[in-house]
């Protein structure tokens, strides 16, 4: 890892993760919230690969592949739910989904 020190990768990953975290909490559009979750998962991938390089073993890289697969599976289920919800409610605003708060 010549050139860029390891700390920078971790810092970038932390910044991306925090961006995603704040995005989920602040934004009200479901699709944007979902994208923020994907951003969080990808920041984890960056951290995992950096640590894998640091420790010189492959555990982190293996996990990052699983994360990619799981993220893809989550998109399938999540987008199906969002599309169905848009059909029923005509909106993808999380604040409109308040039927259950009685």
């Amino acid at each position: 890892m010549s050139g860029v020190p390891i700390g920078w990768y971790i810092a970038l990953s932390a910044v991306l993760f925090t961006t995603g975290l704040v995005g989920v909490l602040v934004r009200r559009s479901v699709v944007v919230m979902f994208m923020c979750i994907e951003l969080m998962l990808n920041s984890v991938n960056l951290a995992l690969i950096t640590f894998s390089r640091l420790h010189g073993n492959l555990d982190g890289q293996v996990l990052s592949f699983f994360v990619i697969v799981v993220a893809a599976a989550e998109v399938t289920v999540g987008l199906a739910l969002i599309v169905n919800m848009f059909r029923l409610m005509g909106s993808t605003d999380a604040d409109h989904a308040d039927r259950l708060r009685s």
């Binding site: 971790i10 969080m40 995992l48 994360v67 739910l81 919800m85 259950l100 009685s102």
Partner: protein, 544 residues
């Protein structure tokens, strides 16, 4: 040939057999549903393939019992498919139930194999990825019995709502596989994958009523917060790996003993804690629970409450008591605080609810707090007590939500407490059942709920957590109020005219059997819990 045998890693089929069997049945049910009218042909093909493989194994490997069982299973599914070929739902439900029973049989067999003079001997297999220990085996039993009882109890509910579609049973089995894996994962990679397998199934099942806005909303909230909490959990896993250089829980624990508590370690632990607190619904990470429990189809809610809680607590205890034991000073006070506000918050918020399912959702939160006492004891008695608690909670919640799904069916809508007034007059059996489950949830002596609370409270006292136990008792007293309120409404108050005109709930044979099983479990575990308590105590072994 010899070289090839060396290159292929040894796979411990026996240790993985419960998951493999359950997953195989799930695939089979899915295949038969997809095959449509050609399901007999598909089933015959599967039977031929499995029997051929079994015969080959008998000839080549000199093993008789296991291949014979495979052949028996193959022929059984063929016979069942042939008999029920015109009733695909009955077929799916039957096959799924048999698969769950077979899985429980395999778990029992494994228990006999690994237990040595009482205590289950922990071991880990598949490159230390999967743990075979008491916690894993006991949780598998909880999950499988919850799924098994959910099938007959949910049958008529799904039929009436016209949402009895083909995917239901495979999804149920797949999320049960995820729960089993989560309970037995000895590696953080497995923890993440298992969490996702169980969640993906449950997201779809919560939104199973595709035309029902409340069901959709619940699925959608569950999905968003579930994925969010998974991401947080995952970042915790990544940081743990960064600090320790291994994703294996036991190895990470050994590395942490040497490393001590650096800032990065504490950050990793905090993120893992938040992730697990989301999954087990500890206050303040509980906000999804009432919404999801209220909106999801009622049988699904019962299964979700029972299974997810058991599996998530098993993983919670494995990661924190297993890996982070050296840092006990840092996480015990945090979980202590969470447990206290969970017990009080869950009970107090439940008091003001009018929707019965939502009320049970808040009560589930309070129960997660009681189970956390077992975790906080950080000793064998605590682990055993927690396992017993989770088993009893699974029976109570599957039973209570099962009765609710029968009553909801009568009214074709969500049940408010006001709708239960005078239920006794026209539906004596469901009333008695619901009353029994509510008494047990409240922890009235003579029911299983009381014995379970006693087990975790005793473990808490042994570990000098006196304040925690006092808070738990206060919370139980508050909780008893709203359970009794429902019971009073059912038995003492008069039935309103519009409800009196409705037909009484129909009890199918399956529903009767499911309710009888759960009620028997609640009564037997409340009166003579000895054997099962000993079993849960002997299951209090973790892979270290």
């Amino acid at each position: 040939m010899i070289l090839l045998a060396q290159a292929i890693p040894q796979i411990p089929w026996a240790a993985l057999s419960p998951e493999l069997a359950l997953f195989g049945v799930g695939i089979l049910v899915l295949l038969l549903e997809t095959a449509g009218d050609r399901r007999v042909a598909a089933s015959a093909a599967v039977a031929g393939l499995l029997s051929g493989g079994g015969l080959l194994a008998i000839v080549q490997l000199d093993q008789v019992i296991l291949p014979a069982l495979v052949i028996l299973a193959a022929l059984t599914q063929l016979a069942l498919t042939y008999v029920w070929q015109r009733r695909p739902r009955v077929l799916s439900a039957l096959l799924s139930a048999l698969g769950l029973l077979a899985t429980m049989g395999l778990v029992a067999w494994q228990w006999v194999v690994v237990s040595d003079g009482g205590l289950v001997q922990p071991q880990s297999v598949l490159a230390d990825m999967v743990a075979v220990d008491g916690v894993a085996l006991f949780t598998r039993v909880i999950v499988c019995s919850a799924a098994l009882i959910t099938i007959p109890l949910g049958w008529m509910y799904l039929e009436d709502r016209r949402v009895h579609r083909a995917e239901y049973y495979p999804l149920l089995l797949f999320s049960a596989v995820g729960m089993n894996l989560l309970a037995s994962s000895a590696d953080l990679i497995m923890v993440f994958i298992a969490v996702e397998v169980l969640s993906l199934g449950l997201y779809v099942m919560s939104g199973f009523a595709t035309r029902d806005l409340t069901s959709q909303e619940s699925a959608f909230k569950y999905f968003l917060l579930g994925a969010f909490s998974s991401a947080i959990l995952l970042y915790g896993i990544a940081l743990t790996y960064g600090v320790t250089g291994s994703t294996n829980i036991a190895e990470a624990g050994r590395a942490l003993t040497l490393a001590g508590g650096s800032a990065l370690t504490l950050a990793a632990m905090g993120l893992l804690l938040v992730g697990f607190a989301f999954k087990t619904a500890l206050v303040p990470f509980h906000m999804w629970t009432p919404d999801v429990y209220q909106g999801a189809p009622t049988p699904v809610t019962g299964f979700m409450a029972a299974g997810t809680k058991a599996a998530a607590f098993a993983a919670f205890i494995r990661v924190f008591v297993g890996a982070f034991a050296p840092l006990e000073w840092s996480w015990v006070p945090v979980i202590w605080t969470l447990a206290v506000i969970t017990m009080l918050g869950g009970a107090i918020l439940a008091v003001v609810q009018t929707d019965v399912k939502r009320m049970l959702g808040y009560s589930a939160i309070a129960h997660a707090g009681y189970a956390a006492i077992g975790l906080l004891s950080v000793n064998a008695a605590g682990v055993g007590g927690m396992l017993f608690y989770l088993l009893v909670y699974a029976m109570m919640s599957v039973g209570a939500f099962g009765v609710l799904s029968l009553i909801e069916r009568r009214q074709q809508r969500a049940v408010q407490i006001a709708d239960l007034r005078g239920l006794w007059r026209r539906n004596p059996v469901p009333t008695i059942m619901l009353g029994l489950f509510l008494f047990s949830l409240a922890g009235i002596p003579g029911t299983a709920g009381f014995m379970a609370k006693l087990a975790v409270f005793r473990a808490g006292l042994q570990a000098d957590q006196v304040a925690l136990v006092i808070v738990a008792v206060i919370s139980s007293v508050i909780a008893a109020f709203f359970y009794l309120r429902v019971t009073v409404a059912m038995i003492i108050e008069d039935e309103p005219d519009d409800l009196a005109r409705e037909a009484p709930a129909v009890l199918t044979i399956g529903a009767q059997a499911g309710l009888a099983l759960t009620a028997a479990a609640v009564v037997v575990l409340g009166v003579i819990p000895g054997a099962v308590v000993e079993l849960s105590a002997s299951a209090a072994s973790l892979v270290r």
